[in-house]
Structures are given as structure tokens and as C-alpha cells.
Symmetry: C2
Subunit: 258 residues, 2 copies
């Protein structure tokens, strides 16, 4: 992991996934990978992910721990109209502010749904923590919002992604975190471990990772280097390439095929 | 979320994912869904998942927080021979025990690899926290182990799955956590929210979840009920079915098609 001093201009981030459906094994989380990739491009360092159940005290505690520890916190899940959607009121409780009718959201929902359909359950979606700023999104009327350094998004991936697109325009930028990969078939991690360790020591400003892969088409190791210092990145990946070649194996730039 | 008092015989669990590759967006985590599903079948309640980077102090802190809070902690990642594989020594530090040569693992690795290939990097894989018990697995010589209530597994899914199979034979069992689902096309969450809330109130011993889905074939809502009380489970899902039917929509048992 890249140490804080190596990327002083890069904001830190955490993701908080709110949802029993992930903890029960019902649903495969795909939001983490999406947000992580986008944060890297924006130059934010994702430092922690937590998944907690739809239990108020658990959500409140996690929000407060994470917002104190990182520059930005991105939450997913729990902003719909049903009884298990309690994220919004928990965020209000975490910030110690009232949870109240947000007139602009109320009007937008009523206009969108029609007065007849705008029942009590849906009216709850127009309740936001005081001081929250709605996150616009192009695909739904789901009430995402930002408050302080916490960004509250839907759990449904296509809606979350639309919200993140809205957020990207307002988030601070850091130097983008770039990645380079090289892989070799039949490479054994244990054979290149000492060499990789030496590369990491020579380029402390980048992060050198070693990842075995197992595919129908063959097995091997991928070396992945990431960081904001492109010159060091190129030098380190070049040395990893030589390390694989020294094993008598042809190194291939990029990730192994899927 | 089901409250503790409702499932007194069910052990609690957390997953700790150790890996920069998840936080950088390189790798899609699939271990959580696998472990979560198996834990439900074993009657363990998964209550939290955390992803942390390959940074010693972060791993040590997370291990100690989670092992104090839950009956079992399952870790994935960081047990290979390379410089970024620091899980084992961090677990030793978290437990405050020496990290030392484990003779049985040493002998097995040396026998498997041959004396020539058993270099310094691979010898590190035979170092375990004092008191650790190796987790046997059928597909590799990767050195998974249990110490106290912490179970340390590989990050590579097929190896992790083989290790979990080894663990299953020794983990305590609770009453299995069962799930029932019903879904309806064109159902709107906001229209059934009040009814669902009433079902949850009538069956506090089960967990009623509402999940919108969006598919090429159509959109709608799935209602998922889970818990250990099968009678309550059947009654609650039956009422959810009636709720959908009352909307003039044909309810279909099971999850929506993928």
C-alpha cells in the first residue's frame, strides 16, 4: 500500500455498503469495484470498505468512524421507500442534525409520481438530513445526497453509477493513480519473490503487487504496479518484466486474459 | 437485520478481506458472496465485512476489533510468499504471540517443492503464529490456518473455497438461516412499502427485505425473507405473495431470473 507521505495531494476515501442482501450472500456486490476504479482515476486513495447490516446503530457508528478517518465516504444502499431503507435517517443521526422534509425533493417526487401515487412511503424519500445537498442522477428519482464529506447513493448499480457521475463533477481531484501490469505463464510466485521485494525496495513511491492467476488457458503470476509517479511506475514494471524474462519465460504486458 | 435475541443459537461472524487489489478496483471480490452463503447454511450470522490494505497496522487493528466483536473471523488474502503477503505475521502480532517456524508445514512444503525450490521466500510460508492450526486444503499447499476464533485463508477463490471446505467440518453449527423469495414484474416498491412494513411488524423473528431489480426482460421488486424460524418464514412470504397479488400482479416464487 502506498503510504500517505508518498501521495500528499491525494484525498483518501472509504466505501460503506449498507445491506443485508450482501451479508446474506444473496447479492454479489459490484459497486465496490466500480467506485474503486473511478476513485483511482480521480486520484482518490480508497483505504477501506465496510459492509454493515440494515441496523441503525451499526450504520450510525460506521458512518461516524469512517467520516472522521477519511476525506470522503461513499455509501451505497438503503435509500428507497421501504421499511428496510433507513440510511437517510441514520445519516441525520450520525451528523446530529434533524431529518426533515426537503421541499425541492418533495416537489420533484410529487411532480414525477403524480399526487395520487405520492403516498406516505414515497414521501419518506423526500426526507433528508438538514444541510444535505441532493445528488442529481439521470436515470431515476432516487434521493441520493451529500452531507459534509459523506455521499449517500443507491445500492442498485445502474442508479449508483449515475449518481457517481453526478458526484465526479464536484469532487476534488488528486493526481490520478495509474496502474501497469505484466504477467507470465507458468511463473511461480515463490521464484520471483526475492526479486519483486528488491523492486519494491528500489521504488518505495509505487505499490508493487503480485497476484497468481489460474485460468483454463494456463496459470501464472501477474505483477501490478500502481502509483502517481509515472516515471517510477514505468521503471518498476520494466524491472518486473526483466525478472520474469530471467526465469526463461516470456513476459506479456498487461493483465492476463480472462 | 435479525436481532441477536431472535437467533440465540447462531454464532456471529465477520469477514476481513486483506488486499490492495480490491481497493484499487483491479479485482472483483467474489469471496464474500461465497463465504456468506456457506455461513448462512451453517447457521452463522455474517454481521460485517471489511476490506483493508496490505498495511501491517491496519490489518492488526482490524483483526483485533473483529475478533473481539464476533464469534468467528474469516480472513482472505496475503498468505503467499511475496513481500506483499504479510497476513500471517500480522495475525501473530494481533494475538501477541511469536511468529515462528511451524515444523509440520515446513516439512510438507519442503517435501512438496523439493529441497532446491524451497528458497527463503517459500520458507516464510512455513512461519505461523505460535498456536496456529493449519487448515488442510485439497488444491494447494497454501498455508491457511486457524488461531483462536480467526481463520486465515487464501485470497485466490478456488484455494479459499477448498480451505473453507476444510473449516466446515470443525465449525460449530447454528440453526441454518433459510431464505424465501417472491417477485413480481412491474411491482413498484413505493406501492407495497406500507404492506411490507406491516408484514415485518407481524413477523419480527424474520428479516423482510425489498429489492428492486432491473433486467432486460423486465423490472420489478423481489421480496426476500430470511431467518431460522421456518414456520414464520413461510407465513411471511405467503403474505408478501398476497401483497403483490393485491396490486393486480402475478407473484412468482423465487428470485427473479438473471
Amino acid at each position: 500500500m502506498i503510504r500517505e507521505t508518498d501521495m500528499p495531494s491525494n484525498p483518501t476515501a472509504a466505501i460503506l455498503i449498507i445491506g443485508n442482501e450482501i451479508l446474506s450472500g444473496r447479492t454479489q456486490d459490484v459497486n465496490t469495484k466500480f467506485i474503486a476504479g473511478r476513485l483511482a482515476a480521480l486520484g482518490h486513495r480508497l483505504e477501506e470498505v465496510r459492509v454493515v447490516p440494515d441496523v441503525a446503530e451499526r450504520i450510525i457508528r460506521a458512518v461516524n468512524e469512517l467520516r472522521a478517518a477519511y476525506d470522503n465516504v461513499f455509501t451505497t444502499g438503503g435509500i428507497g421507500p421501504t421499511h428496510d431503507d433507513i440510511t437517510s435517517e441514520c445519516i441525520a443521526a450520525a451528523f446530529g442534525v434533524p431529518w426533515e422534509k426537503h421541499q425541492e425533493s418533495w416537489d420533484a417526487l410529487e411532480r414525477h409520481l403524480g399526487h395520487e401515487q405520492f403516498n406516505e412511503a414515497r414521501q419518506r424519500m423526500a426526507m433528508l438530513p438538514r444541510g444535505a445537498v441532493p445528488i442529481p442522477n439521470s436515470v431515476s428519482i432516487a434521493p441520493g445526497f451529500s452531507i459534509g464529506n459523506v455521499h449517500v447513493m443507491a445500492g442498485v448499480p445502474r442508479i449508483m453509477q449515475a449518481m457517481f457521475a453526478g458526484l465526479e463533477t464536484v469532487l476534488a481531484r488528486g493526481t490520478p493513480i495509474a496502474m501497469r501490469a505484466v504477467h507470465g505463464l507458468r511463473v511461480k510466485e515463490g521464484s520471483i519473490a526475492a526479486g519483486l521485494s528488491a523492486i519494491q525496495a528500489r521504488y518505495p513511491q509505487v505499490d508493487v503487487g503480485s497476484y497468481p492467476f489460474y485460468r483454463e488457458s494456463g496459470s501464472g503470476v501477474a505483477v501490478v504496479v500502481k502509483g502517481t509517479d509515472v516515471e517510477a511506475l514505468e521503471a518498476a514494471i520494466g524491472e518486473a518484466e526483466s525478472l520474469i524474462a530471467a526465469e526463461g519465460i516470456t513476459p506479456v504486458r498487461g493483465e492476463p486474459p480472462v
